[in-house]
């Protein structure tokens, strides 16, 4: 397998051909922010937080979808990128009703953490306050559209790993919603296997386990690597 040598944030690193900038960066301790990427699932490049600058290229590139090339010089945290990321987070925070104080994921939410990490101390945009529902019909899980950032991790894990394809995206634009089957209550879904993978990969409080308190509600995505490597390589590693 051919190896590519490149520079990420001034650090000479190597990656395998076909590996993404995102993966090589993380393997080398450069943590590029992301909300839609999860190792083990396909990438869609939707959250735009992992955009990086590549020298010699006019356009910014989504690190999660761009394979490493020999001699590439990548910058992952220029002032311009940080500014863009802050504003993207503000767009997300203003889009739906993210009231951290009354969210079961308060303290363990990827959106909340990223906002803190990037120094978003207030939102300069107008909050939009859409009227959105909460579905608690499922025996074990709940779904709150108010906290959904439409990263589609749940849609992908349900389709690609569990194989049920219970979830998909309804509508379009800012009116998009994550639905179950024909849009009915989650609890009445006849395709959902109640495996809970969608809850575990959800970065915010949009999908949660019922009956858990704020401190108890923690998510773990470790299962993904376990299942995916088992399926692809017949290796069961934790």
């Amino acid at each position: 397998m051919s190896v590519k040598t490149l520079v990420i944030d001034g650090k000479a690193v190597t990656g395998r051909a076909g590996e993404t900038i995102f993966n090589v960066a993380w393997e080398n301790g450069v943590r590029i922010p992301r909300l839609c990427h999860v190792g083990g699932l396909s990438d869609v490049g939707a959250c735009r937080l992992c955009l990086v600058e590549i020298e010699g290229q006019r356009k910014l590139a989504a690190a999660c979808l761009t394979p490493v090339e020999e001699g590439m010089v990548v910058h992952t945290s220029s002032e311009r990128l940080k500014e863009h990321r802050r504003l993207i987070l503000e767009l997300l925070l203003a889009e739906r009703n993210h009231v951290c104080a009354v969210c079961v994921m308060n303290g363990a939410c990827e959106l909340q953490d990223l906002a803190a990490e990037l120094g978003v101390d207030h939102v300069r945009l107008r909050y939009r306050f859409p009227k959105l529902g909460v579905d608690t019909s499922h025996e074990r899980f709940g779904q709150d559209q108010n906290r959904c950032i439409l990263c589609t991790r749940c849609v992908r894990v349900c389709d690609e790993v569990e194989g049920a394809h219970t979830k998909d995206v309804f509508g379009r634009g800012s009116g998009s919603l994550i639905i179950n089957d024909m849009g009915g209550p989650w609890g009445e879904s006849d395709t959902c296997t109640s495996c809970g993978k969608c809850v575990q990969v959800c970065p915010t409080g949009a999908l949660f386990s019922k009956g858990k308190s704020v401190a108890e509600m923690r998510k773990d995505r470790g299962f993904l690597k376990y299942i995916v490597t088992a399926r692809e390589k017949r290796e069961w590693i934790r």
């Binding site: 998909d168 995206v169 024909m182 849009g183």
Partner: protein
């Protein structure tokens, strides 16, 4: 013998089912043909009901959420029945510059919001992205026919004529 009101409807329905089936088989029940099949279904039934989508999902062997996701992504597909009359106001740039908004205002005031159907089921209103008849701006498609260079007065008169309060 008094005519049985339910009979003709039943035959029509059977026929439609058969025609939809034919549309699906023409595409070998391929999931790739979902949009073609939805077009056919909407043409036959006027709108896409959830049970109809469910049966399409089953026939094309697709997950239900994907079928609903596709049906709601495209503006052409409607999940609710249309009214007796259907006004589509073109809001393309040429029509907009020529005053399409005032036509939409008349319809929204007298009938219902754009994208909806009046409570009595009489009129459905929709705004359309450029219908490609910019020479006729502002244009409205009314029950499939184009009304060219329409004024709010003419529109009001037509609404009066079909009995909109």
């Amino acid at each position: 013998m008094p005519p049985d009101a339910s009979k003709p409807t039943a035959t029509v329905k059977d026929n439609r089912e058969k025609m939809l089936e034919r549309a699906m088989s023409r595409h070998h029940y391929s999931g790739d043909a979902l949009i073609e099949v939805l077009h056919a279904a909407q043409e036959l039934y006027g709108f896409l009901s959830i049970p109809l989508l469910q049966s399409i999902a089953r026939k094309l062997r697709l997950p239900p959420s994907r079928v609903l996701g596709v049906a709601t992504f495209y503006h052409f597909f409607s999940l609710a029945p249309k009214g007796e009359h259907f006004f589509q106001v073109c809001t393309g740039t040429a029509c907009y510059v020529a005053g399409a908004q005032s036509l939409l205002d008349v319809l929204e005031r007298r009938c219902c919001k754009s994208g909806g159907t009046s409570p009595d089921g009489k009129v459905s209103v929709q705004s359309a992205r450029c219908i490609g008849s910019c020479g006729l701006a502002p244009a409205v498609i009314y029950d499939g026919k184009i009304l060219a260079r329409l004024t709010p007065e003419q529109l009001n008169a037509e609404l009066d004529r079909i009995g909109v309060k």
